[in-house]
């Protein structure tokens, strides 16, 4: 079992409410319990083939993918269905109870974030934290304090291990 909760050091804080650091197994349980989970995959995946493979593996567990930035190219190249979305627009739509989702079947109750720039994702998550009831989970290499749940700060090899454990338990 990988412990992904040890290092939650941050450079600056947003405020009193911060993400709960969690282990991969906890995340897998949260995702499994969700009625409508969504993987929001970012363009940083395009810089690292290993990370892209992990995202593809998560998607292959039946979690729909909103591909932000130009990450859609990575998914389509690997034959994985994904829908392009600008992350800022997507965040706006996710907060709208009248939005019918990527497939027209309704909104989502749990959002998993992977492959994003740290500072950018923290801003997007700040919007979720303050203006929606959505559960957000970050499985990035850095602690994302504005998510509901997040991995702590991880060295690259430990991050890969944690992702493998998460995928295995999904």
């Amino acid at each position: 079992m990988v412990d992904t909760t040890k290092n939650t050091l941050v450079y600056t804080t947003w405020g009193p409410k911060s993400a709960k650091p969690v282990n991969p197994i906890t995340i897998s349980k949260l995702v499994s319990k969700a009625k409508r989970p969504l993987l929001v995959a970012g363009s940083e995946l395009m810089k690292d083939e290993v990370m892209l493979e992990k995202a593809v593996a998560i998607a292959s567990k039946g979690i729909p993918v909103a591909a932000t930035g130009h990450s859609i190219k990575g998914f389509l190249d690997k034959g994985v269905e994904a829908k392009y979305n600008n992350i800022h627009s997507l965040a706006h739509f996710l907060g709208d109870k009248n939005w019918t989702g990527l497939d027209g079947k309704g909104g989502y109750d749990l959002i998993l974030f992977f492959g994003h720039k740290k500072y950018y994702l923290n801003q997007v998550l700040s919007g979720f934290k303050n203006f929606t009831d959505l559960k957000t989970i970050a499985i990035e290499r850095h602690f994302m304090q504005n998510a509901s749940f997040s991995f702590g700060n991880l060295k690259p090899d430990l991050h890969v291990e944690a992702l493998d454990e998460l995928i295995e338990n999904l």
Partner: protein, 802 residues
């Protein structure tokens, strides 16, 4: 007060005595009321354009991403607003975020307008208030000023009431930021839009004044090229470095050096917009620019730490707060020249030049505040010539040598602290790791992406001067940083608009992409080059200014040409136009206003709402501030937004706290009136935002093409725009965009070469009815192609409403 107009009075009994009347309260206002009452809102107050703003904000809703969950404004607090809670004064998170955004906008607007006030006073004192405004072959000299205030300035003196209006309104806006009071986010947003609009007036005042007085290029497509890059600086010469945004003082330095014949003895370089304006100074007749451009703010700390400058002169705005400390470490005297930056230095404005030089060369003082710009003109170059040998003799050492570099790299314990504090989380730890084996490629990568903030230095537990290590290890790459930038040409002229306006409104020139703003890029400077090159090849007009204009000149193609050499700079499709420095951004909105005024013959005078309505529905323009960091970038973008011009910022722009994004799936939001009959007319969802962030340039490029689509496009224009949108999506995102069919109004909107294939898709996937014999769409589109339609958001402009 008196009704006497400004002018001169002769008193008969006093021979040869004239009394000049500068201004009589009431007289000027009356003049404009009488002669220039064109539109409905000359000099609009804070609430005058509220209806327009609310209509914009109902389609483009504010999306808040707080930078901080607390409010620390007053002694009621601090208050935790997490989850949109209310604080002690009653404001909730939404309202507080809108207020915070407003504060950024008026800070930016005040920076430009403060600059405008300073340079206008300075130039009026020097050249007189009757000095004509001369910005090139145009009758419409001041599109922003005229649209907003109703004033049609002809002289420097005419700019005075315009800057007074801006100052008064900014004070009113600042007053609304006080605790309590406004509680509705939407009205803070309206005020922010007001502040943005004011910013473009303030910027225009600044640039019109300096173009008219300082011999800057006047709508000149052949404005000369200047050298740019850290690698172009001749470090063997005494070097004078100017940093900031206000060229008034440096103009005097150039004059002094020319007059004394010492220009070739001093290497004059600049950072930020002062640098751009130095290359514009006295270039209206062509020639070789008097200075070189080092680069953007991202190069500021790097350039100082290089130890090359012998003297630094700062003026205002984007200047690091620690220039004096950094420079002092390397025995570089700093001269501050403006009230906005004084660094605690003694005021030497009334002292003798020789005395000041003595105090600075001896090291008695680290710098001087010199507000007398004539004094500065002599002081700075003389001091540079004297400091250079002194610093050489002292053996001032800036960056570590190669042995020291190795020792520093070996000290790294791979703790990751530098990466954690780095604004871009750059892989510094990895660079240190492989750098220990003498491989500096990762350092060069980090150098290119590094915004030069220096936070890594402060985080290192081993006290490694991380930025110095990055810079030393990247020396080879830095020496190669040489390019060219075209001096800012100023306005787009009236004849330019007459020639190209129709193509813009019909869409046959697919759009204007304005690359503006600062250097806080997500993935290095080259992205900007890639974006501009792609859009220029596709015949978009690319306008640029400020730091973006600089970074575009930093790369060369396989033929050794920068974009400025590769592409012409007329106001035509496929042309790259540098309008100038930060304050020249007003010429970008000014261009759109000119299309409304000159091509469409709209009355723009004091007529903001109708002008903006025209621009929003007809001119396919998108602003991009890819590396936006400053408050000024927020105000520039917000000013564009009030005109209905969408703006994209890079991912760091999410820290501005709010975006304005529409919901394409809410059909009700995407309707306008047809002014011919007042009927509602559905439109495609473009622009789909007024302000948003984008992750990568690959995502950005198709988004630019899509958001240049406008209701007024004729079929040829829509076909061209749609072709670019589809091609760019396929090229950079690897797929056909899902919403492409929503922009199809008839078969003639479809790219000719793919028409049949696309008609099949429309029939199969969207269930549209196709007449295959005539290859015609019979039913399906939700928007209609009608080139005679008059799209407007203003019901009162519809026939029968007035």
């Amino acid at each position: 007060m008196s009704n006497v107009p400004k002018g001169q009075i002769s008193i008969e009994e006093l021979e040869n005595v004239h009394i000049t009347i500068g201004k009589i309260v009431g007289a000027i206002e009356e003049k404009y009321e009488k002669t220039e009452a064109g539109g409905m809102t000359p000099k609009p107050g804070v609430s005058a354009l509220r209806d327009w703003d609310h209509s914009l904000l109902s389609r483009y809703q504010p999306v808040y991403t707080p930078m901080c969950d607390q409010c620390c404004y007053c002694t009621f607090g601090k208050c935790d607003l997490t989850g949109n809670k209310e604080g002690a004064c009653g404001i909730n998170m939404e309202g507080h975020q809108a207020r915070e955004f407003l504060l950024r906008v008026i800070t930016g607007a005040a920076a430009h307008s403060g600059h405008g006030r300073h340079i206008l006073h300075y130039l009026t004192d020097k050249y007189g208030k009757d000095h004509p405004i001369d910005v090139g072959p145009s009758n419409l000299l001041a599109p922003n000023i005229q649209t907003v205030t109703g004033i049609e300035p002809k002289t420097l003196g005419d700019l005075e009431p315009a800057i007074e209006y801006v100052e008064e309104q900014l004070t009113q806006l600042l007053a609304t930021v006080h605790m309590g009071q406004e509680g509705a986010a939407i009205d803070f947003e309206s005020k922010a839009l007001h502040g943005g609009m004011l910013d473009h007036v303030g910027m225009e005042i600044s640039d019109l004044a300096q173009i008219s007085c300082l011999g800057m290029p006047k709508s000149d497509p052949e404005a000369p090229l200047a050298e740019i890059g850290m690698g172009c600086i001749d470090a063997t010469k005494p070097m004078l470095l100017a940093i900031g945004h206000n060229v008034a003082g440096v103009a005097n330095i150039i004059d002094y050096m020319e007059e004394k014949g010492i220009a070739d003895q001093v290497e004059l370089g600049g950072l930020c917009c002062t640098a751009i304006d130095m290359t514009r100074y006295q270039m209206d007749q062509g020639g070789v620019p008097h200075a070189k451009v080092v680069g953007t703010l991202a190069k500021e700390l790097k350039m100082i730490r290089s130890g090359i400058p012998d003297v630094i002169v700062v003026d205002e705005q984007c200047v690091r707060a620690d220039v004096l400390q950094e420079a002092s470490r390397l025995s570089i005297p700093v001269i501050t020249t403006n009230d906005k930056i004084m660094y605690g230095l003694p005021n030497r404005s009334n002292d003798n030049v020789d005395d000041i030089i003595e105090d600075l060369t001896s090291g008695k003082e680290k710098g001087a505040l010199v507000l007398d710009l004539d004094l500065l003109g002599e002081l700075a170059p003389r001091l540079t010539l004297e400091m250079s040998p002194i610093r050489k003799e002292k053996g001032i050492k800036a960056l570590p040598n190669e042995e020291e570099l190795k020792v520093l790299i070996d000290k790294c314990v791979q703790c990751n602290a530098c990466e954690l504090v780095c604004p871009n989380n750059l892989p510094i730890m990895k660079a240190m790791e492989i750098g220990a084996d003498g491989d500096f490629t990762k350092f060069e990568f980090v150098h290119d992406q590094c915004a030069g903030c220096g936070r890594c230095d402060q985080a290192c537990p081993k006290e490694i001067p991380v930025l110095d290590v990055i810079e030393k290890a990247s020396q080879k790459a830095i020496m190669e940083e040489k390019g060219h930038i075209r001096s800012g040409r100023g306005q787009i002229s009236d004849p330019d608009i007459r020639a190209e306006g129709v193509n813009l409104v019909m869409g046959t020139t697919p759009g204007i992409i304005a690359l503006v703003g600062c250097s806080n890029y997500p993935d290095g400077t080259k992205d900007l080059y890639k974006m501009a090159d792609e859009m220029l090849r596709r015949n978009y007009i690319v306008l640029t200014s400020g730091c973006s204009a600089m970074d575009l000149g930093m790369y060369k193609d396989e033929n050794g040409e920068t974009l400025y050499e590769k592409y012409p700079s007329k106001f035509l499709g496929g042309n790259l136009i540098n309008v100038g420095s930060c304050v020249s951004n007003s010429h970008i909105t000014g261009t759109a206003i000119k299309v409304a005024a000159i091509f469409a013959q709209r009355n723009i005078t004091g007529n903001f709402e109708e002008t903006a309505d025209y621009i929003m529905n007809r001119i396919g323009a998108v602003g991009v501030a890819w590396g936006a960091y400053s408050q000024k970038a927020a105000s520039i973008g917000t000013g564009c937004n009030r005109y209905g011009i969408p703006v994209v910022v890079g991912p760091h722009g999410s820290k501005y706290r709010r975006a304005l994004i529409g919901k394409p799936y809410v059909e009700e939001d995407w309707k306008v009136f047809d002014a011919r009959n007042g009927e509602e007319m559905p439109i495609s969802a473009s622009p789909e935002f007024l302000l948003t962030t984008v992750e990568t340039v690959e995502e950005l490029m198709p988004m630019l093409a899509k958001n240049c689509i406008r209701p007024s496009d004729n079929n040829m224009g829509r076909m061209i725009k749609l072709t670019h949108y589809m091609e760019l999506s396929q090229k950079y995102l690897g797929h056909m965009p899902e919403d492409w069919y929503k922009f199809v109004r008839s078969e003639t909107d479809l790219p000719l070469a793919k028409r049949e294939e696309l008609l099949k898709i429309l029939e199969k996937d969207q269930g549209w009815e196709i007449d295959w014999k005539r290859k015609k769409i019979l039913s399906g589109p939700t928007t209609k192609l009608d080139v005679t339609a008059q799209p407007t958001n203003l019901k009162r402009l519809c026939k029968g409403e007035c």
